[in-house]
Amino acid sequence: MAVVEQIRSLSPVEVDERAARRSLRDQIAKLERELAAAFVGAFPRQGIDFGVARAPGGPRMLSLGELEHVRDDLAERLVEVRRQLYARAEEEEHKRELLERMLVEPGRYKWVRVTARELGRGDCGAYHVRPRLGIVGMLMGWWQVKVSSGCPLAT
């Protein structure tokens, strides 16, 4: 009889743990969705780490603590990714404004160069304020924005 009582008292805890694990799995799914959205939204920017610290071992049933660990790592990574993307977006906005000013008054931004990467538009291409007709343009003050659309050659 005492054993039966003990089992009865344990069962709700087990059920609660399972419910807690289910809740954690739902949270992990939501975080993974948000991280995936950030990954897709970040393209073609490079250098942002989307990886989460790897738990050792193969496929297994994770304990409550392990699931919490995965959830926390994902949440931390998402916060860090968003912080980096926000910082990048601000830098890119500044560069876009600079590019607009360069296009309007190239003479005021001699030799300034803005790359496509700085604008968040991939790796290839750059906008460079250069004199028209080389040295003649330099002496006459004829400046223009040259657009280089090519990628650097593979070395």
């Binding site: 799995r25 993974e32 193969g58 496929p59 297994r60 049933m61 994902l74």
Partner: protein, 214 residues
């Protein structure tokens, strides 16, 4: 040809993952070289799937569902890539989907078209229906002499006698499809968020291709 049928999932596992399913399909097909039609299909797929699709892939429902399941079972999908992501990455690195052999090509086409991974075992090396369970202590991966030990608690795909594959991982040595295989057992793992029709479609596509000949 028989229909895809549900394998078993151990109670302990299904209580935690109620939507986890194993679906299997025996196919009377032998391995070999891919016919021209299959090689052409791979070329066509290479043109359809490019960098943009690779980036957007992890937001698509089926590849995303497998990524989430990887997290749920302690795998890191950025280190141990999901099969669909691994295939897409290989396509980008190699410049296209390359033809290997009939079986690998069939598995790849079904994977890329549906997002659902499929594995194949030698039918003669499988005893009973396949299912998913936790490995017990002292178990080995397969029944070959060189079968490696499986850590207790690992999620495995097993038949009536022993584990035959790590879930989403390696197949047991000596149980995969060999040149002298006369029939295969295809199986796929369905996780939460993956519609059954995708899994069945993947298995049908794979078996149809395996039965194609020049």
């Amino acid at each position: 040809m028989s229909d895809p049928s549900a394998g078993w999932v151990d109670v302990e596992v299904s209580e935690e993952f109620p939507e986890l399913r194993l679906v299997e399909l025996p196919v009377q097909a032998r391995p070999g070289r891919s016919p021209r039609s299959v090689r052409d299909r791979l070329k066509h797929l290479s043109n359809r799937f490019r960098g943009a699709q690779a980036v957007a892939q992890r937001q698509e429902p089926v590849p995303w569902a497998y990524r989430v399941f990887y997290r749920h079972v302690g795998l890191d999908p950025d280190a141990d890539r999901t099969p669909a992501e691994a295939a897409m990455l290989a396509r980008l690195v190699r410049g296209g989907f390359r033809s290997e052999n009939l079986l690998d090509d069939a598995l790849l086409i079904a994977l890329v078209e549906t997002g659902v991974p499929i594995w194949a075992l030698d039918e003669a090396q499988v005893d009973g229906r396949l299912g998913v369970r936790l490995a017990g202590s002292g178990e080995r991966l397969g029944r070959a002499v060189q079968a490696p030990p499986v850590p207790a608690g690992r999620l495995v795909v097993a038949d009536d006698r022993s584990p035959l594959a790590i879930l989403f991982g390696e197949l047991a040595p000596g149980h995969g499809v060999m040149p002298d295989t006369r029939a295969m057992r295809l199986f796929s793992v369905q996780v939460a968020g993956v519609p059954s029709i995708h899994v069945e479609e993947a298995l049908w596509q794979c078996s149809d291709i395996l039965l194609e000949r020049d």
